[in-house]
């Protein structure tokens, strides 16, 4: 336990010191500033536009942090051969990998907390600027959506952990994680499209089996996307929170467990 914690805190400190993080924060701040200007171009639902833009900024920044800083945190130890220093110590390989994963989770938590609080600012400004009486907005759901951005990033962290332990190169891990993110975001929509049959597309059974398989293999990131609900103050049932939470925990467990299995058998050059 102590070993996991020390690896996690070292990973976190290494990540937060990275200059890329400052760049990402500056981009996020600029996007927040732009939000207040852009919302004035809309007619009535301007709080919705503000919520869309600020929550997307939080999500996008978290994703950039994980993909450009998080992936490198794994690669560094291997590329610079510092991994020998670690594995010669009284710490198991599994502990090392789980620690790395929690380091990434802490990194994404920091980004989400910091930017999540800041993301309320453009919303407050646009809300004071104009609030249409038939618009619906609820701070509780807004912050729930922020929490779900963190949950999504935790799942992305587990995916990065998995690929970093499977591949020898951090660039390949980055590409695989990015592809997984894109597929995970779209499986639900593709599945719905095939199920609806409105578009009158001939779908062979093989394709629909493949889509079903992809739906179960890749994480369904749409489940963690509550931006629309936050933008329109739509209520979310406790069972939704329960099941999506459990789904995230199970997915993370599977991904990290497979990662540790692969990492234990791995030979270092």
């Amino acid at each position: 336990m102590i070993a996991i914690w020390s690896v996690a805190s070292i990973t976190f400190k290494e990540g937060i010191k990275n200059r890329v993080i400052f760049g990402i924060f500056i981009i996020a701040l600029l996007l927040f500033a732009a939000t207040t200007v852009v919302t004035t171009l809309f007619m009535r639902d301007i709080v919705k536009v503000a919520v869309d833009l600020s929550l997307s900024t939080v999500s996008f920044s978290g994703l950039l942090t994980l993909l450009f800083v998080g992936v490198n945190l794994f690669g560094k130890d291997l590329d610079k051969r510092t991994i020998y220093m670690v594995i010669s110590r009284p710490i198991s390989r599994s502990e090392y990998l789980i620690g790395k994963f929690f380091g990434l989770v802490m990194l994404s938590l920091t980004v989400v907390v910091f930017l999540g609080i800041l993301s309320a600012l453009p919303v407050i400004i646009s809300k004071n600027f104009y609030y249409y009486s038939e618009a619906r907005f609820n701070w509780l759901i807004f912050f729930l959506a922020v929490v779900y951005i963190f949950v999504k990033l935790a799942v992305v962290s587990s995916v990065i952990t998995l690929f970093a332990s499977l591949t020898s190169n951090s660039f390949i891990a980055l590409v695989l994680s990015l592809v997984t993110y894109i597929i995970g975001q779209s499986t639900e929509s593709v599945r719905l499209l095939l199920a609806s049959q409105v578009e009158k597309i001939e779908v062979s059974p093989v394709v629909s089996y493949m889509v079903d398989a992809a739906y179960y293999i890749f994480p369904n990131f749409s489940a963690f996307d509550l931006k629309t609900q936050a933008a329109h103050g739509l209520s979310i049932s406790p069972s939704y929170i329960l099941w999506t939470g459990l789904y995230a925990v199970f997915y993370i467990t599977v991904a990290v467990a497979i990662g540790t299995l692969a990492f234990r058998r791995r030979e270092f050059p």
């Binding site: 171009l41 009535r44 869309d52 409105v198 739509l234």
Partner: protein
């Protein structure tokens, strides 16, 4: 020293050349845009997949692009063609497919398509979608009711949507009264009676209750007479001469009183009216 001078000269030459070229480029782009006109609209299913988790922003962009296009036309005082209105409609449909609850495309599309383009069918299609998703917003069924009343002269449908609107509205009494009046004019007196009874259950304000009750009693009287006229026509196979004949033939015992102080009569078109006109 010489190489520094050459570098500076080269850089300044390139900077000036860059500015000139960019000006020419923007002119060329302008020509290209004119020839391009309006572009194709992405199918909703594809857009939903391509937008990943940024569907909301995609909807914002698509909406504002169409709005800017329309605004540009308006500023240049150019007429919108039918094709361009279709494009506007498709964009609004796409934006609302990406975010089903987004008010602006519904509102912008419905207003401009009905008033500007005379495409009431498309405007109503957008509003019907909005009624389904924005199920708390009283303004949407109100606009839809208005379109049915004003553009399509369909009082029955208009009253249906106004009733829906009145059910959603938390305060105020105007829409409920209007809905009841339209239902009565659309020869749907029973609907008006049922609707007002339902609205009364939800109204606490005494002044508003009184005004509803007065209208409800009048409509009940009209509905009672309508039924009596139907019975008369069924029994004697001819039109009634007047309401007194219903009493004389024993179909009803007395003509109900109009709470507004008017008198009920049968109009030329056969409908029951009152001299007070419920005012």
């Amino acid at each position: 020293m010489r190489s520094l001078v050459i570098s500076i000269l080269l850089i300044s030459f390139a900077v000036i050349g860059n500015v000139f070229a960019l000006n020419a480029v923007s002119l060329e782009r302008e020509k290209l845009r004119k020839e391009e006109g309006i572009s194709l609209v992405m199918p909703s299913a594809v857009a939903r997949i391509a937008a990943l988790e940024f569907k909301g922003i995609f909807a914002d962009i698509i909406f504002s692009r169409a709005m800017t296009y329309y605004g540009g036309k308006l500023i240049r005082k150019e007429e919108m063609t039918g094709e361009e209105w279709d494009w506007i409609y498709k964009n609004m449909a796409l934006a609302t497919d990406l975010d089903n609850y987004f008010l602006d495309p519904y509102y912008f599309g419905a207003m401009n398509l009905s008033w500007g383009a005379n495409k009431v069918k498309e405007a109503n299609a957008l509003l019907e979608k909005a009624v389904k998703y924005r199920d708390w917003d009283w303004t949407i069924p109100f606009y839809l009711g208005f379109n049915h009343f004003y553009f399509l002269q369909d009082n029955e449908k208009a009253s249906f949507y106004l009733m829906e609107s009145a059910k959603r509205e938390i305060s105020g009494s105007l829409i409920a009264t209007l809905a009841a009046r339209l239902a009565y004019q659309g020869r749907r007196t029973e609907n008006a009676v049922i609707f007002l009874e339902e609205i009364l259950k939800k109204t606490d304000d005494n002044t508003i209750r009184n005004s509803y009750e007065m209208r409800l009693n009048t409509l009940k009287g009209i509905f009672f007479l309508e039924k009596a006229v139907a019975v008369y026509q069924d029994r004697f196979k001819k039109q009634t001469e007047g309401l007194d004949e219903l009493v004389a033939k024993g179909i009803i015992t007395a003509i109900p009183k109009d709470p507004y102080g008017g008198k009920f009569y049968i109009d030329k078109d056969g409908s029951i009216k009152t001299t007070s006109e419920m005012r």
